[in-house]
């Protein structure tokens, strides 16, 4: 069998890509070793950072999904929505915004000297140097990932199925819940995975907006940086990094397995 030079080049490019992406990941584990990994997990500060990361990201994605799903549906399905294309562009802006800029922007809006600072203050809400601030930062940076995937998934639905539901007597909510949601399931799941991954890795916006207080706003990426900055803390940073890789990998895989991959399989003709 003769291979074309292009196929060989493409294969080489793939090999280089995979190698380059995987080598650092493997290096983290190779450097740490299982013993040191477990030891790092035993440290209270590391456990605290992980716990904080898990529940702030969980809270953030719950908010993103609860609010973002109907919002994405509206954006995708109602073409008569005023300013639709403008909104579509606006919600994707945080995708390309550098995290540090996001942090500064959040301070300008919700910080003590920000536009809504006095309002939040009079309502007794404090975000800066508070865990709530971490959640706000995470929602801000993660929501666009979920929204853009969600809009694409809802837009790809067969409109006639939604219309069929309505002619069968289903109101807008039932149509959404029984036809649109199941139909957009894989897209929403992949959006959820992306958003969660982004939230777990969030660093810059959180650091600038919420600070890096151990046990309060110091999520795992911030803890990694704190260890890294400490003289002789590189091994600890490596260990925490390894843990974060495992946790985020497991989370993404879990989301895909639970919500995403089972969906299309059940919908495929040959499995029914």
């Amino acid at each position: 069998m003769r291979r074309s030079p292009f196929s060989a080049l493409a294969a080489l490019a793939l090999l280089a890509t995979v190698a380059f992406l995987l080598v650092p990941v493997v290096a983290v584990f190779a450097d740490v070793g299982p013993g040191r990994l477990l030891e790092a997990l035993g440290e209270e500060s590391a456990r605290e950072a992980l716990r904080l990361s898990l529940w702030t990201t969980l809270l953030a994605v719950v908010i993103v999904v609860a609010v973002g799903t109907p919002a994405a549906y509206l954006l995708a399905r109602y073409e008569g929505l005023p300013g639709r294309s403008l909104i579509l562009t606006a919600i994707e802006l945080p995708l390309v915004m550098p995290p540090a800029v996001a942090g500064v922007a959040l301070l300008a809006a919700f910080g003590p000297q920000g536009i809504f600072g006095p309002l939040l203050d009079s309502a007794g809400v404090e975000l800066v140097f508070e865990t709530a601030g971490v959640v706000v930062a995470l929602v801000f940076v993660a929501a666009p990932f979920y929204l853009s995937q969600g809009v694409a998934a809802f837009a790809a639905l067969d409109g006639r199925q939604l219309e069929a539901a309505r002619t069968l007597g289903a109101g807008p909510f039932r149509t959404f819940a029984t036809v649109a949601l199941p139909g957009a399931r894989e897209g929403l799941a992949s959006g959820l995975a992306l958003a969660w991954g982004r939230a777990l890795g969030e660093f810059g916006a959180t650091l600038l907006f919420a600070g890096s207080l151990q046990g309060v706003t110091q999520t795992t990426p911030l803890a990694i940086f704190a260890e890294f900055s400490r003289p002789g803390g590189f091994t600890a940073a490596l260990a925490l990094s390894a843990v974060l890789i495992v946790v985020s990998g497991a989370l993404l895989l879990g989301v895909k397995l639970l919500v995403g991959e089972r969906g299309p399989a059940r919908g495929r003709p040959w499995t029914s």
């Binding site: 199925q161 069929a164 309505r166 007597g169 289903a170 149509t175 139909g183 003709p269 029914s272």
Partner: protein, 366 residues
């Protein structure tokens, strides 16, 4: 008995839809016309899926839409059943859940009722299957069952047979005809085939470029097409010419490009001459006369298409005419492209449709 009336005026791509229809329960209407004529749009307006710029839709005493009075009943409250062209079954639900979607009540009773309906359409054994795993004909029946399960008060079918292969279409056609005849609901079935329309419903409305151009019994419409478009759509060949009055009962028409024909219809000025292919007989040149056939136009065979035991013969007069003869006759006459032939048909089988002086072929009012 309820009457479904639909009146709609709205922009439709590059043309205007302006349609008025009334359908009585128990007397299904076939809405026929070429693609893009606005057939589906009429159904969408009736079902509440599209709001026309101006319009009124009512079922019996109940007004579903009246743009003048700002009345609009939501689609889900109309109980107006719509079978979509590609059926739009829910792919994530199995067949019985699809059918039960529009039903009310506890799961067990809905399942039982869905099964009864599926059995009625001969697809009870597919209750647990997914729509993706069943054939087109089965999907069509499931879609019909799903629509009827919601107990609609009017039934709309959008090209219900278009998604089927020719073999299953024949069976489905007969079945659908029976279902439509038995329904005590106002029903509209949309089709782009005149033949299908004539077979499915006792009444026909022909729609062209957004307007209902003729309504009536299918046989009536094909026998007396009121425009060249309708004649063509109903299967007749349409020739253009100019009518000059002639003494006695007959009208003489000079065809564009040559030839003269006579018709029993009265007309003057530009006309479309329609004649059905099965009314045209073919003769070798130089024969003829001595019978009751008044129209004899020489021409040249352009195409010969054998369909089973029949041959559809295209003739250039030079205007195109289609004759349908038995395959045996075509063989005997040695018809092949280029053969000289004389097309003959009776003046009584020649319909004249007056054209406006501008030459547009559609007198407007029904």
């Amino acid at each position: 008995m309820d009457v479904l009336t639909i009146g709609a005026e709205t922009r439709l791509r590059d043309l205007r839809l302006s349609a008025e229809l009334a359908v009585r329960a128990g007397e299904p209407l076939a809405l026929a016309g070429p693609s893009g004529a606005g057939k589906t749009t009429v159904l969408r307006v009736a079902a509440g899926l599209l709001r026309p710029q101006r319009g009124r839709v009512s079922l019996g005493e109940e007004v579903w839409l009246d743009t003048a009075a700002a009345i609009e009943v939501a689609a889900e409250r109309r109980r107006c059943g719509l079978v979509f062209q590609d059926y739009a079954l829910f792919p994530r639900l199995n067949v019985w859940r699809n059918v039960a979607y529009g039903m009310r009540g506890p799961r067990r009773t809905r399942r039982a009722a869905a099964l009864v309906l599926l059995e009625r359409f001969g697809v009870g054994h597919l209750a647990e299957a997914r729509p993706g795993a069943i054939s087109g004909g089965e999907r069509q029946r499931v879609a019909l069952a799903r629509t009827l399960a919601a107990q609609p008060r009017a039934l709309l079918l959008d090209e219900p047979l278009a998604a089927l292969d020719p073999a299953s279409r024949r069976g489905a056609l007969a079945e659908l005809r029976t279902v439509l005849a038995e329904l005590a609901l106002p029903a509209i079935v949309v089709t782009h085939s005149f033949e299908e329309a004539a077979l499915l419903a006792p009444r026909l409305a022909v729609i062209d470029r957004g307007e209902v151009v003729q309504t009536g019994a299918p046989a009536e419409v094909s026998a007396r097409p009121r425009s060249a478009f309708v004649a063509d759509f109903a299967g007749a060949a349409v020739l253009h010419g100019s009518a000059a009055g002639e003494g006695g009962e007959l009208t003489m028409v000079r065809l564009q490009g040559g030839g003269e024909v006579r018709s029993v219809d009265a007309a003057r000025g530009p006309v479309a001459v329609s004649v059905f292919p099965w009314e045209v007989s073919l003769e070798p040149p130089g024969r003829g006369g001595g019978d009751s056939i008044l129209n004899r136009v020489p021409g040249e065979v352009s195409t010969v298409t054998i369909v089973g035991n029949r041959a559809r013969v295209g003739i250039a007069l030079p205007q195109p005419l289609v004759a349908e003869v038995t395959a045996a006759s075509a063989e005997r006459l040695g018809l092949r492209p280029g053969s000289a032939v004389v097309a003959a048909w009776k003046a009584a089988a020649t319909r004249l449709i007056p054209l406006s002086p501008r030459g547009s072929a559609s007198p407007r009012s029904p």
